[in-house]
Subunit: 345 residues, 2 copies
DNA sequence: GCCGAAATTGTGAACGCAAACATGCGTGCG
DNA sequence: CGCACGCATGTTTGCGTTCACAATTTCGGC
């Protein structure tokens, strides 16, 4: 607890009641929109509330009712485009459903300790349900701390967790990206993968492999990047020296940016010499040099689905394992072209 | 409130007490680390807690004590790099200070209605203090809803709000950026400003003007962009047609990216024909083509200062108007060069 | 071996609210 | 004309915790 003087308490329900000349219960009824309150009483109470600047004490309310309309979100890496968009989307969807949102931001990549703590607090606060943005396994560990009866929805979780889950169909995303490059005429497609622990990395990789398999192409070696431009650049410096490498599917847009930079430094032009597809469609992707072809994830839809699944469980009281898949869409721009002549600068 | 069956309640303190063979008060003492509890009793209580999976009810605790160790953060546009970094930084700093954080994310650019609501909820939840990430005036409106006695810290707020505030010194940032271009030999520097409502936009603009004034340079007309690459691109298309425009200070890195794209399309090379400085130092700025010279804001430091100011107020019970300024630092990369020959492609 | 202080534990009340139950009044119907 | 029912409102109780205070035990010094 915070040291220091206790904050002075504001007016409470009985103050309002006294001022309006009614009982506190009538005030409660007005506040909760119960029937059987006369119009005149209601306005008197409302006036008293306004005059006193009364606001009801949520803790007392939650304590008395045993329910809260707060849902918790556990998120990591919220400076990344994907997770932050997800949180934003869930927030908007929750607002629409008249739910309040408490977001527990797990700092940094070290998830375990921090997320335990955040889950603990969310549960203690009486969150009615929890959304785990769980693109890595570490997030699942904290899920076990949640007492039974509290509904959970995961985002980007794994099927074996048996939770209600909503994911972007990253497998299909990888498929779309790779097919797009293949259809441009490339013999095969290289893939710079995302970090191994992320489920999305694995799914994109599988989509890539599947697309290659469809046309009988052999999968080239697969370098692995983080999600950053810096790591994409490192991989790109290698790939730029491989003449055969004319088509690349990058783990995400920022990795693609790093690759573009590395290619440029080696004098390999995009898309004339090397075709490239990213993932995410970050807002600035269209303004890379040249505009990046990529696969967009519909985060807003993910947020809506997550809230919907949570509300379902809340309403029925059952914990379903229903899951939703959101389809990504290919955004073709300027970084894909048929394989041309391989001229070095 | 959420409809549906009320969630079943877990074990409560008296359950633990019964199991451990003590009174509920002793359990409370153990939980709160009070002195005068014998070691054997403590371990018995702890064991009972573990066996029952007991977790204390925060609502009841807050109700009884009248204080919470939760601080609220009101933030907007959390998909933008700046705000999301800020939230992250505050989160880490709060964790270090053993505070819990509840983040209210205001969706989209329409701040007013949503932030009222979020503030209302944060106050009702009994937040001990509030951090407003208030880079625009709209955020200040909601500040008035906060009852007196609840400490407030603003981030990127205005002095006239009389609140404890911490800001990045964006004026100096603008100064640094402009001087850097001037020192490279440019006669004057153009500025593509950020959105008018943002305080940071205005401060950067003033820094720019001040730097120009230092050397007696006359300020060229100032186009205004949003924070996006798209709007930077629009401005850039204009600037690219102005031969005199050889040095540009962009509102932020993404705007700079849009400008780079527009310049490239017009065949104006960076930095040979046009020098460019951005703002923010987003992680991928170094991988733009070419690497973007920019001004970095130390968000982590901002977060630490914000939490420090809040704790000060919490401890003393007074609402100070102390403020902190965090100095930005210039990151020179490849987009600034002396003015050369203006050749068109 | 006894007294007082310190240590340890227990008891009752209060926090602010909502739900269940109780009350008083008017009104329609037989 | 009386009875039952519905409306508007008041009273009481309990949610799970902490706090103030009371009760009991332990211990050291003389």
């Amino acid at each position: 607890m915070i040291p220091g003087p206790p904050p002075q308490r504001g007016p409470v329900m009985s103050d309002v009641a006294a001022r309006a000349g009614v009982s506190h219960q009538t005030v409660s009824r007005v506040l909760n929109g119960h029937p059987h309150v006369s119009a005149t009483t209601r306005t008197r109470v409302l006036a008293a509330i306004a005059e006193l600047g009364y606001r009801r004490n949520l803790s007392a309310r939650v304590l008395a009712t045993g329910r809260s309309n707060v849902i918790g979100v556990v998120a990591q890496n919220t400076t990344l485009y994907g997770p932050s968009s997800m949180v934003q989307a869930i927030g908007e969807a929750a607002l629409g459903a008249d739910l309040s949102l408490t977001v527990g931001h797990v700092a940094g990549y070290d998830a375990t300790a921090a997320s335990r703590r955040i889950v603990e607090r969310l549960v203690q606060q009486g969150a009615a349900g929890l959304v785990f943005i769980a693109p890595v396994d570490a997030a699942a560990e904290a899920m076990r701390l949640v007492p039974g009866g509290v509904p959970i929805v995961t985002v980007d979780g794994l099927p074996e967790w048996q939770s209600a889950n909503v994911s972007v169909d990253q497998y299909t995303g990888g498929l779309l990206a790779t097919r797009h490059l293949l259809e441009a005429g490339h013999r095969t497609v290289w893939h710079v993968a995302g970090p191994e622990p992320w489920h999305g990395s694995r799914a994109r990789e599988e989509g890539w492999r599947a697309a290659l398999a469809e046309v009988g192409a052999v999968a080239p070696p697969m370098p692995r990047a983080g999600w950053s431009a810096a790591s994409g650049y490192q991989c790109g410096r290698m790939l730029a020296r491989i003449p055969d490498c004319t088509a690349i599917f990058a783990a995400n847009d920022h990795v693609a940016l790093g690759i573009m930079r590395a290619m440029a430094e080696q004098g390999r032009r995009i898309p004339e010499d090397v075709s490239l597809v990213g993932f995410d469609d970050v807002p600035e992707a269209g303004y890379f040099h040249p505009g990046l072809s990529t696969v967009r994830q519909e985060f807003a839809e993910v947020g809506r689905q997550a809230v919907r699944l949570l509300l379902d469980q809340l309403a029925t009281g059952t914990s379903s394992a229903e899951s939703a898949l959101v389809e990504p869409v290919l955004i073709p721009r300027a970084t894909v072209a048929p394989p041309g002549n391989q001229e070095k600068a």
